[in-house]
């Protein structure tokens, strides 16, 4: 019965020129955005792999020099792109995907095509996620608005209602028909994207990507069901298909275009972040306080002399310069932890507001999930930034320890390949899907709530159909 209803909806749609045009437009946009995402992904991953190799080669190929010079020489670390970033580039264009690691400094990430924008979580250019989560729902609403209202106007609704079809079957059938129409557009594109992903994946990340891909597919499906439910409910409730259309366009406009901007503004004002210049100024003030540095050095000196039970720095069995460099690092790290911690906490809070804003617009919950699954949300940016920073600190400690151990007062000290190769190459393991979804509990709950609500509304409206037949 459900299948029969769905098939009839699909047959009618496929014979409707307007539907075919609409489907073609969505198809073209979806293919274009997937292709653009794929090109971007392959180009960027190739560049990254190359740059990563180069930075390593340059590091290992350094001539003999003092380890501290090497520390200033620095290396790049790149955030590996998940294949799903083809679909959702998320915040990567705003937050960057590479970080420069050098002595004394925790850096912000680089390569931010959207550098000039200030607020985090502003929607970027047309990427796959936007086609999927903004345009496809519009398509769904354009398909669903006449489903009941149009049948009422055509008079077929009376015929239909005279048959004694259970409302829940009617809703399920019409919903299935709508989703089948969506599938007609989405499935070819998804297949294309899957092939592109497989093509692009020379190696590693694919296994982890499968579960994320499935979860992303499920997210889209649930969101489409929500939109379909709303569409059917409004179509059943509306006195005319014109009213249904206007109402649904209003819903789409409010939830897909207005809500994200409002959510961004609300998140920003609830959890404000300093602009780059302010942040830098505050950081610098804490980092290079001459009085603090003087006291810290004096304290380090006293402690070291006591520890080795000697009276002058020259009598130390270790190079004091190595110790003082590391002490400077330790101090810097504390300051970085405080400043970046505060900044990143604010961004995390903003992202959380965004998930809660899903209560007002299911799109926000769905988008939050899609970015998270694509590995391009803030939490995974932070996860990477932490790993990269830990790597930087390891490098510094290795080099400073080497100075402390090997440098002799009054003599130049040069280290070589042996030391450089003692610094391991940077490796990064993206967090598991459990880790990711654990941080999306709000979005998941909110989306499930929307699904329940939309389903209940559609059912309720269909139950009332016969009474409102007029």
């Amino acid at each position: 019965m459900i299948g029969t209803i769905a098939r009839k909806e699909l047959t009618e749609l496929s014979r409707d020129g307007r539907f075919r045009l609409l489907a073609a437009v969505i198809l073209v946009l979806a293919v274009a955005s997937t292709a653009a995402g794929w090109l971007q992904f392959t180009a960027v991953s190739r560049q990254h792999a190359e740059a990563q190799r180069e930075t390593r080669e340059q590091w290992l190929g350094q001539q003999e020099k003092n380890p501290h010079s090497a520390a200033h020489y620095g290396v790049y670390a790149f955030k590996p792109a998940s294949h799903l970033s083809i679909v959702d580039t998320g915040l990567d264009p705003y937050l960057g995907v590479a970080v420069w690691l050098e002595a004394h400094r925790q850096s912000e990430m680089k390569f931010r095509p959207a550098q000039d924008r200030t607020a985090i979580q502003r929607f970027g250019e047309l990427n796959g996620a936007e086609v999927l989560l903004v345009l496809v729902p519009l398509f769904i609403l354009l398909v669903t608005f006449p489903v009941f209202a149009g049948e009422r106007e055509q008079g077929t609704l009376r015929q239909l209602m005279s048959l004694g079809v259970a409302p829940r079957l009617l809703v399920a059938g019409k919903a299935l028909g709508t989703l089948a129409a969506v599938a007609l557009v989405i499935v070819p594109v998804s297949a294309l994207a899957a092939v592109a992903m497989a093509w692009a994946s020379a190696d590693s990340y694919l296994a982890a990507d499968v579960s994320r891909t499935v979860a992303l597919g499920a997210t889209c499906l649930v969101y489409f069901l929500v939109v379909t439910g709303v569409g059917l409910a409004v179509s059943a409730w509306a006195p005319s298909s014109r009213v249904a259309l206007v109402t649904l366009l209003g819903f789409w406009f409010a939830t897909s275009l207005v809500a994200p901007r409002i959510a961004t503004d609300v998140a920003g004002s609830l959890h404000p972040t300093p602009n780059a210049a302010e942040f830098q100024r505050a950081l610098d003030a804490d980092l290079s306080d001459p009085e603090e540095a003087r006291q810290r050095l004096a304290r380090l000196q006293a402690e070291t002399l006591t520890k080795y039970n000697v009276t002058s720095l020259d009598a130390l069995p270790v190079a004091f310069s190595g110790l003082s460099l590391q002490s400077g690092e330790d101090h810097g790290n504390e300051v970085f932890d405080r400043h970046f911690g505060r900044l990143h906490d604010q961004f995390s809070n903003q992202a959380r507001v965004y998930q809660w804003a899903g209560l007002a617009s299911p799109l926000l919950a769905a988008r939050s999930l899609s970015m998270a699954l694509a590995g391009t949300d803030f939490e995974q940016h932070r996860h990477f930034a932490k790993a990269a920073e830990a790597y930087r600190r390891d490098i510094q400690r290795t080099l400073n320890d080497d100075i402390a151990r090997n440098q002799r007062a009054g003599q130049p000290y040069l280290a070589g390949t042996e030391l450089w190769s003692r610094v391991p190459d940077f490796t990064y393991d993206a967090p598991s899907i459990g880790w990711v979804l654990g941080r999306q509990a709000t979005a998941l709950t909110v989306l499930a709530g929307w699904l329940t609500l939309a389903g209940a509304l559609a059912l309720l409206a269909t139950r009332r159909l016969s009474a409102t037949l007029g």
Binding site: K8, Q154, G164, A467, L469
Partner: protein, 234 residues
């Protein structure tokens, strides 16, 4: 098969139907006559549970239509003044869809075509889209849906108004066949001639009340017309 018990429907202060009590048995064709606004459509809407009664009950096969709206419709078929179909689907596809939703199981192309043939739809029309159908063809598809459904009661609301005499005659002929199979028919109509021809009983309604009830074999056509006009007069 169809039974109304003190069936009453009020819209605000107007009483669209007042305490209608009526039984239509299998094989009977009951014709509701009456001026516009007499309450004929209201009666049919009440049997279909499209509107809720203010008082009384409508029963189909002994089942109260408000208590079991889905079950009561299992035996019903409805043919309005113009049978509304999906214009982008063919006649056959429309029949298949409605028959499937009505719960009939034999949906093979062969048997559906046979039903269409039985109701007299031109053979080449079955695979044409309904958008180009004449009203007579639509009414035939309506009967075909009822036949495919295996309906045991038929509710018709002025099904022949606007049909040309030939189409109207064909329709009445179909109706006679269907009722010959033991279907109870309740038909609202303005066509006294058709009522006399294909009806077994007529009821005359006036301002929501059934004012006369007679077997069609009691009168000639002229008598029926006189009776009708007498009741309309005042």
């Amino acid at each position: 098969m169809l039974e109304a018990r003190h069936l009453t429907k009020r819209y605000g202060t107007t009483t669209a139907l007042e305490a209608l009590t009526l039984t239509v048995s299998p094989g009977e064709v009951f014709c509701l006559l009456g001026a516009n606004g007499a309450g004929k459509t209201t009666t049919i809407n009440l049997f279909l549970n499209f509107v809720d009664p203010s008082e009384g009950q409508a029963l189909v096969n002994g089942v109260d239509v408000t208590r079991a709206p889905l079950e009561s419709k299992r035996h019903l078929a409805y043919i309005p003044e113009t049978v509304m179909l999906y214009r982008n689907l063919t006649g056959l596809e429309n029949l298949e869809y409605f028959a499937a939703l009505a719960g009939s199981t034999d949906l093979s192309r062969g048997s559906l075509l046979k039903v269409l043939e039985r109701v007299g739809l031109p053979a080449d029309a079955a695979d044409r889209r309904v958008g180009g159908y004449s009203k007579g063809m639509r009414q035939k598809v309506g009967i075909a849906i009822a036949v495919a459904k295996g309906a045991r009661a038929l509710l018709l609301d002025e099904p022949t108004s606007g049909l040309d005499p030939k189409a109207s005659n064909e329709f009445s002929e179909l109706l006679r066949q269907v009722s010959g199979d033991g279907v109870a028919v309740l038909m609202a109509t303005h066509d006294l001639f058709r009522a006399k021809e294909s009806g077994t009983r007529v009821g005359i309604m006036k301002r929501g009340r059934l004012v006369a009830l007679h077997g069609t074999d009691e009168f000639s056509h002229a008598d029926l017309e006189r009776l009708y006009l007498e009741h309309m007069h005042d």
